[in-house]
Amino acid sequence: MSTTIKPELMDYDEVIERFDPVMGLEVHVELNTNSKMFCGCATGFGAPANTQVCPVCLGLPGALPVVNKKAIEGAIRIGLALNCEIAQWCRFARKNYFYPDMPKNFQTSQYDEPIAFNGYLDVPIETDEGIQIFRVDIERAHMEEDTGKTSHQGGATGRIHGADYSIVDYNRAGIPLIEVVTKPITGAGKYAPAVARAYVNMLRDLLRALGVSDVRMDQGSLRCDANVSLRPSADAPLGTRTETKNVNSLRSIEKAIRFEMQRQAVVLAAGGTITQETRHWHEDTNLTTSGRSKSDAEDYRYFPEPDLVPIAPARQWVEELRATLPEPPTVRRARLQEAWGVNDTEMDSIINAGALDLVVATIAAGADDASARKWWLGELSRTANDQGVELSDLAISPADIVAVETLIAAGTINDKLAREVIAGVLAGEGSPDQVVAARGLGIVSDDSSLLAAIEEAIAAAPDIAEKIRSGKVQAAGAIVGAVMKSTRGQADAAKVRSLLFAHLGVDESA
């Protein structure tokens, strides 16, 4: 836990009244290529430390990079999906600075010649006037290599200050990254934090649809840095910005930007100035703390990477890649809404819950569309909310939902038991079939065991049984209820009822 004292914050409505927020978002996306950006090493997440390395990604003396064509392809497809122009000719550049997790003490990146530039992404925002489209302009999307991962050991905070020593895992070093940088986002006003969240969400959906990245924020395959500044009014010059790093979930993006707006507003309202600096977002305390000041920022001494030849993507190749782009999100939304026959409100809630891709995948796996929507928007959305995680991060797959539906259709479980099955899957107890078996959740359909339960219930309430025999069929509810209770709900109530009447020799329809 961070021990930082929470700074004074201005009331959000007052911030909006007095200031105009401007944002700039930098999103780093790890591509899911099989091999690294400049060598043939594997890229899988979670391998033992320093097992996916070679002379190239370890930056050993003499080793040279060779560009992974699949990474260029991914970068171009991302650029095209973001409506960018694709460079006719571009180069890599070296960004020079010393840090132990960077094997060469320079990062091979792109500087003034990005592969993609001048694009935009239209983002739907829920406003007081309903859903509105907000256009986020894209400055550039460029390629670079990821660094290794440093863990600071022995300190209280896990940060470098106060640590006893640090260990570095170079498995991540050289994994292809695409950095998508927006132009300054203005005009969002009070919706600024929501725009940021919706933009990253939309970008994530887009990248997932492109199939170029796992886009797992919790695993770091999608990372967002948020630049925030305030100015007195929309026609005033841009204010000094801070860059908040370590924002690793959609809700954190929204919260971190809101926090920075409220924090900066207090400083500015008191006549102070904002320090241009890097700040760190703390998920646990919901606040940002000061990191490195940019006033003593390093000079990265960029220059064109002499070990790599320029990249000049053939126009025909670019057009071939354009043809592989998935359906644009807005078009897809309209198509699905019509196919499912749902209204705008329900469609909005599906999208806002981050459930669209999951519902589509569940239908594709064999569920009917109404039940797919029912599970993801109902039970699962509530669970995700309770746990404070994204829907897609829940430990349940579309295939699991289909399996649950299949169990219901077969009469093995009922709706109520299905919720328990899903709880078991979420708890990591295995597939729905395994959960049913392990928890003994199947509906009791064996007549003899049901009859035994019925006889037990009659013995416990002989007067009620007498009433039924005498024709008061509505009294059967009490016995059925007792049987359901004794079988812990795992019986089919209708069946219990008919067995009861048969047992008592009463005509049910009487």
Binding site: L60, P61, G62, L64, D299, P306, V309
Partner: protein, 497 residues
């Protein structure tokens, strides 16, 4: 076995192939020679006796099994210490890499091994290939076999001296601004910087990536051509590697008649600042070339005057970045890690302790030249000059087939003479630097001794990019004519050993 060490590589390959001597005998003869003279020459930083004998034995076994041997199988070679060789100490002449053994072979190393060439060890060099005298080696200088008080050139002084001292018939050099050609000139050996990209840089520890090029060093043009054919060719591990098929350098080296060949003499390389004996031998060489049928034409390359200035911005800039990785964190020497200090402090102490003065000078120069606000004026301007120099070459090669100049302005100077005057040291490479900036090939070939000091003089032959075979043609013809005139190889006159 009689006198194996004075044979050429081509002769030794024939001796091994015919069974006249085994590869092990050839290797042992050279190891013995190293044992006898290297205390005085100091061409080698590391001698891999066991590895060399094992490689030679493998060649002998292959021959015994009736397998086909490569054209240079069983011939010994000295490998410049800038080239990675698996499990063999590779230091670049620097303290900062003391004790480091690469876990992989450079592409050049791998090709040498595959060809059955016997690598005797690693040759001395100026630290990280920065220098023209090998005096900047952290392990002490190499001495010129012509006069042990004099420099053997640099940075590849070990690779040139081992040839002139008959410790090896072949060696590998690398040339960023003249580090193959200038040492060849001052030791009366043959050194070739191929076209940029002709030989893979994978495993060559970079000085300046856009200038570095590995190449063959030998005592004859034919031997250099044979070694060139072994190490050249496309390598998928080097993005800047040329995909062209390798031309037949060996056939070109057999050229004896230069009729129809147009040879350009670069006006800007050879006037003021060039020693009189150097100019005299160069003029005589032109007469011989003319006698072989070549047409000699004076050409002007006006931007060559700016080559040195541009080079000393581009090289330090690239090297400041290339050498950043040497920080003591992952390999090599670490200094000042007392358990109390920050990682930045340990990195700084390691670099301060590990790098020599010349390396430090160039890292500081390059760091400055790339800094925000200076980039355009320094690195940017230098790149423009580089383009102008390339155009000078293009214009010249539109008129002539090859260009020639003296390789170096002077013969070998005395150890210590220029150590405190970096600018005087840098001027050694004034004639060789343009080819590095343009990526074009260059060869140095001995053309006699300067009358005033009886020390070797070299001619530089430069060809258009990807036309390396033209240097071998002109060099082969000139060498044959000179040999006929001298009656014996020039190195027989080197009497210091």
């Amino acid at each position: 076995m009689a006198d194996l060490i004075h044979k050429t590589a081509a002769e030794l390959a024939a001796v091994v192939a015919s069974g006249e001597a085994s590869a092990v005998e050839v290797a042992q003869a050279h190891l013995n020679r190293i044992g006898a003279v290297d205390g005085a020459v100091h061409a080698f930083l590391h001698v891999d006796t066991d590895g060399a004998l094992a490689a030679a034995a493998a060649v002998d076994a292959k021959r015994a099994a009736g397998d086909k041997l490569g054209p240079l199988a069983g011939v010994p070679l000295g490998l410049k210490d800038v080239m990675c060789m698996k499990d063999i100490p590779t230091t670049c002449g620097s303290k900062i890499l003391e004790g480091w053994r690469p876990p992989y072979d450079a592409t050049v190393t791998a090709r040498l091994k595959a060809a059955g060439i016997v690598i005797l060890g690693k040759t001395n060099m100026d630290e990280f290939a920065m220098g023209s005298s090998t005096e900047h080696s952290a392990y002490g200088p190499t001495h010129n076999p012509w006069d042990l008080e004099r420099i053997p050139g640099g940075s590849g002084g070990g690779s040139s001296a081992c040839l002139a001292a008959f410790e090896a018939p072949l060696s590998i050099g690398t040339d960023t601004g003249g580090s193959i050609r200038q040492p060849a000139a001052v030791t009366a050996t043959v050194g070739v910087k191929p076209t940029y990209g002709a030989v893979s840089r994978y495993g060559l520890i970079a000085l300046a990536s856009s200038l570095d090029q590995a190449g063959p060093c030998a005592r004859t043009v034919l031997d250099a051509a044979m070694l060139h054919q072994v190490i050249a060719g496309y390598d998928p591990h080097d993005s800047t590697s040329l995909t062209d098929p390798v031309a037949d350098m060996v056939s070109a080296a057999g050229t004896r008649d230069l009729t129809g060949m147009k040879i350009g003499v670069v006006k800007e390389l050879g006037g003021e600042g060039y020693q009189s004996g150097v100019r005299q031998r160069f003029t005589e060489a032109l007469e011989i070339l003319s006698g072989l049928g070549a047409e000699i034409i004076e050409v002007s390359c006006p931007h060559f005057d700016y080559a040195l200035a541009a080079y000393y911005l581009i090289l330090p800039s690239e090297c400041s970045s290339n050498l950043a990785k040497f920080d003591g964190m992952r390999y090599g020497v670490r200094a000042g890690d007392d358990g109390e200090s920050s990682v930045e402090q340990v990195m700084a102490r390691t670099r301060a302790a590990g790098f020599g003065e010349e390396v430090t000078r160039r890292i500081i120069l390059g760091t400055y030249a790339l800094s925000a606000g200076y980039y355009d004026a320094y690195y940017g301007s230098a790149q423009k000059i580089r383009t102008l120099i390339q155009r000078d070459f293009d214009d010249a090669f539109a008129r002539v087939d090859v260009l020639v100049s003296p390789t170096a302005p002077t013969t070998a100077f005395k150890l210590g003479e220029k150590l405190d005057d970096p600018l005087a040291m840098y001027l050694n490479d004034i004639a060789t630097i343009p080819a590095n900036l343009a990526g074009t090939p260059g060869m140095s070939l001995p053309i006699g001794l300067a009358p005033e000091d009886n020390l070797p003089v070299g001619i530089q032959i430069m060809a258009p990019a990807r036309k390396d075979e033209r240097m071998y043609a002109v060099g082969g013809a000139l060498e044959a004519a000179l040999l006929a005139r001298w009656g014996a190889p020039i190195l027989t006159q080197a009497r210091a050993l």
